[in-house]
Amino acid sequence: MAKITFISHDGAEQVVEIPTGWTVMQGAVQNGVDGIEGECGGSCACATCHCYVDETFAGTLPAPSQTEEEMLECTSSERKPNSRLSCQIKVTPELDGMTLHLPETQS
């Protein structure tokens, strides 16, 4: 389990506990976090699960795959250095306390 905080574009905060081994997207959609759509169910095919990872964790996550990297080129909100697709982030206990900022739009 890891407690992850989602901060929406308008500043609203939601804290969600996500089991180890799940993806951040899975935890977010099941808890109805507004601003993560996850339309493709985690296949890295839709880019509707875009998020910005806070600095302290951005460096510790495994690097994105080439497919994720290329999907990130095409997000509907600005791509930043800390942009990730949340369906490609697997939850580990080390991610406890991570904060994710959500973009203005997903599609």
Binding site: W22, G41, E70, C74
Partner: protein, 413 residues
């Protein structure tokens, strides 16, 4: 259980079918500001879940059932959406505006959405009912297939479409001997150009799958009630411990047909997901859409279910929110991602961009000089840019597409 002939409960909005499309209708009704009762009714025992991973991540053992759920139960509570699982809508009385459930309950409705999805087309050959023969539509199906793949030595897949090929790739990943029997002369023939079909035949063969094209299955053979082989019209017998058939789907339009709604191998809807009854909408795989005066068509995709779901919620509230975006779809086989946008039927020219040899390319389809569809293989940016190009109807020429120095993303802006 409520007694039969009970007085109708609730009123409000009722959604029949708790899959991708039905869930979207329920959610969008709330998002659009509807505050009355919403009842979402599904005959499966699980709350709504993502179906695409069934033939991919789930069969590969990469996800558990719980991870496939689209929304958790407290979400339904917070949104005040009543989710009834394991119960079927068995009939609609349009005059009384009541649906009857198979547990005897009746629900009255102000607005109704049909999101009943589809079922697998049964194999029309002797032996189809043998043990060890599977179709794939539900989580339960996927578990049965997973267990069979664990035990089987030889797997025969009937049908070289998306589902068949994804199952073949997953079975290979588990080290099974896999044969794909496809009746057409090429794979995924209904949707992709021959160029792409050939690429996928090579891909599967390079992974050790025996891909047999032009193979007409005429019978399944068994022993003691369990399948042992598949026989084709030319007399070849393919030994099999497990058979997975993916030969297409049939729209679940029975409820609508019985209620007298306009149907033609699917419930006929317009761009706003409205049926021939103003109080009833329909979304997803159970629908056939008539739009732009074009031929009626059925799209079997998540995007279609989601977008029609949004349109249906709006329509039930008396608003128009047409779904006109270009259709898109994807398929994962081995480490190759196919992403498709637009409808390529009727194309008169194709242009390939990228490198098939490196397994990174896109096929651009043109009709009368206009771009109508793109199939991308391991080229996500082409797909995502293509969605914008097609949605905005940006004029793009075959010459621009053929020239890798032309930035498509710049055209899409």
């Amino acid at each position: 259980m409520a007694p039969a002939m009970a007085e109708p409960e609730t009123g409000g909005m009722v959604v029949a079918g708790a899959g991708q499309g039905g869930l979207q209708v329920a959610e969008s009704l709330r998002a659009e500001g509807y505050t009355g009762p919403i009842t979402l009714i599904g005959d499966e025992t699980q709350p709504p879940y993502h179906r695409p991973p069934l033939s991919k991540a789930l069969l590969n053992g990469e996800v558990t059932d719980a991870q496939l759920g689209i929304r958790g139960l407290d979400f339904f509570e917070r949104q005040r959406i009543t989710l009834l699982t394991g119960v079927r809508v068995s009939s609609i009385d349009r005059a009384a505006q009541v649906v009857r459930l198979d547990d005897g309950r009746c629900l009255s409705y102000d607005g109704l959405a049909l999101a009943t999805g589809s079922r697998v087309r049964p194999l029309p050959v002797p032996g189809a009912e043998l043990e060890g023969v599977f179709g794939l539509r539900t989580l339960d199906d996927a578990h049965r297939i997973g267990a069979a793949l664990d035990a089987a030595e030889r797997v025969v897949v009937i049908g070289g479409g998306f589902i068949g090929l994804e199952v073949a790739a997953s079975a290979r990943k588990r080290g099974r001997t896999v044969t794909v029997l496809e009746a057409a002369p090429r794979l995924m023939a209904r949707v992709v150009a021959p160029f792409v079909s050939d690429f996928y035949a090579d891909l599967h063969r390079s992974h050790g799958v025996d891909v047999v094209l032009g193979a007409q299955v005429v019978a399944l053979e068994g022993s003691g009630g369990t399948v042992t082989a598949v026989r084709t019209a030319d007399g070849t017998v393919y030994p099999a411990d497990a058979v997975v058939a993916g030969i297409g789907i049939i729209a679940n339009d029975d409820l609508a047909v019985a209620a007298g709604l306009a149907c033609d191998r699917g419930i006929i809807v317009d761009d706003c997901a409205r049926t021939s009854d103003p109080r009833i909408t329909a979304v997803g795989d159970c629908t056939v859409r008539i739009a732009d005066g074009a031929a009626p068509r059925r799209l079997e995709s998540v995007q279609n279910a989601v977008e029609q779901g949004k349109a249906a919620a709006a329509a039930l509230l008396g608003r128009e929110r047409p779904f006109t975006a270009a259709p898109w779809f994807w398929s994962d086989q081995y480490d190759v991602k196919l992403q498709m946008v637009g409808l390529s039927s009727g194309h008169d020219r194709i242009v390939v961009r990228g490198s098939p040899a490196e397994r990174r390319f896109s096929v651009f389809y043109f009709r009368d000089g206009a771009l109508i569809a793109i199939d991308s293989v391991n080229r996500p940016p082409d797909h995502m840019t293509g969605r914008k190009l097609l949605d905005k109807r940006v004029p793009v020429t075959p010459e621009q597409v053929a020239d890798e120095s032309v930035q498509l993303a710049a055209l899409a802006r």
